[in-house]
């Protein structure tokens, strides 16, 4: 098990300036925001389940940029049909992280069903080109290093612990400002 905020810190440490980083609603966006806010981040502060399809669209529209999709098991399960869609479209620049703590932690830690379903196996059978399942920080580091030089779509399933961090601020940037600076980050590369 990896503490989720440590996994997020590790993932963000591998982000290059041109990369796009999308984070799902709830604690994950709040932790990405407080760890490393940057214009190329898109905080999906609502619309649970929508992140992966938005990320797929961006990966197709901007093939020269790596697109990091960072979501939880709850949001991945909500839009499970997007996994085979990502695999069938096959964008090589998409890196999909599922931080799997087997719970809806943002709403109080209620259990999801991912303790009984291996989402890495699901991604493999859907046809993701690269799939890794990591449960310690060293293997996460190894999976992040391995992204380079291999065509995606990648799926990195991070088995994470329930690790409530007190006092994480909400995303304080207004939605239209998140949109505008993110749009500039996409258009600079196209």
């Amino acid at each position: 098990m990896i503490d989720r905020y440590k996994a997020i810190e590790k993932i963000l440490a591998h982000v290059q300036p041109a990369d796009l980083v999308l984070s799902t609603t709830g604690m994950i966006s709040r932790e990405v925001f407080s760890t490393s806010d940057r214009p190329g981040n898109f905080y999906m502060i609502g619309s649970m389940g929508l992140l992966s399809s938005f990320g797929l669209g961006l990966a197709l529209m901007s093939p020269e940029q790596r697109v990091f999709v960072v979501e939880g098991d709850g949001s991945a399960l909500m839009s499970l049909g997007t996994l085979p869609l990502i695999a069938s479209e096959g964008p090589s620049n998409l890196v999909h992280f599922i931080l799997d703590n087997e719970s809806y932690e943002s709403t109080g830690g209620q259990p999801t069903i991912s303790s009984k379903v291996d989402l890495a196996e699901v991604a493999k059978s859907c046809g993701y080109r690269q799939v890794a399942r990591v449960d310690d920080i060293e293997s996460l580091e190894g999976a992040l290093v391995a992204i380079d030089g291999k065509a995606g779509p990648h799926l990195i399933l991070v088995k994470a612990g329930i690790a409530p961090v007190e006092g994480i601020p909400r995303v304080t940037i207004p939605p239209t400002e998140i949109r505008d600076r993110f749009r500039s980050s996409v258009q600079q590369r196209n």
Binding site: G46, S47, L50, S53, G57, G81, L85
Partner: protein, 164 residues
């Protein structure tokens, strides 16, 4: 109008990136779309997934489109409110209007949404147009002007028989 004329109108407005779920209202137009190399179409698994995909086009400086049946409007209410309208991300919704006019038109599963479709867009303050076959270009231009002015989604509600 035939499928080619329909797509000529859309393509001439730089509408070439679509995602969606098919509807029989525009069967021929769908066939034309997937065979046209100038149109990029992603066969989404749900209407909300199509909305997420198509909205990405805005960030690359284009307007994306969603092809769908009106029975899927319920599936996009959450992303319309907490994504499209909140961030003000424009997108074009091209919707086959099943159950137009209510019972006894169409099959029973379309009766309620057939009546409620425009009311939902009124409630959400999302602009829409109901084009006649010979006035698609005018309806689309009015809708696109509104979409860009308010930076919001807008819908073309296509009744059966309007497009082949």
């Amino acid at each position: 109008m035939d499928a080619k004329s329909f797509w000529d109108v859309l393509k001439s407005r730089d509408l070439t990136f679509f995602a969606g779920v098919p509807d029989s209202t525009f069967q021929q137009a769908y066939k034309y779309m997937v065979e046209d190399p100038e149109i990029r179409y992603v066969p989404a698994v749900r209407e909300d997934v199509a909305l997420g995909l198509a909205s990405a086009a805005y960030f690359a400086g284009k307007l994306g489109g969603v092809m769908m049946q009106n029975s899927g409007i319920g599936n996009i209410v959450n992303p319309l409110t907490s994504f499209s309208l909140m961030y003000k991300i424009p997108v074009l919704l091209v919707i086959g209007w099943r159950g137009y006019g209510g019972p006894p038109n169409d099959a029973p599963e379309h009766w309620i949404m057939g009546v409620k479709s425009p009311e939902i867009f009124d409630l959400l303050e999302i602009p829409y147009e109901v084009p006649e076959p010979d006035q698609l270009a005018d309806a689309l231009d009015r809708l696109l002007a509104e979409i860009h002015k308010r930076s919001v989604p807008g819908a073309l509600l296509i009744r059966p028989g309007v497009v082949d």
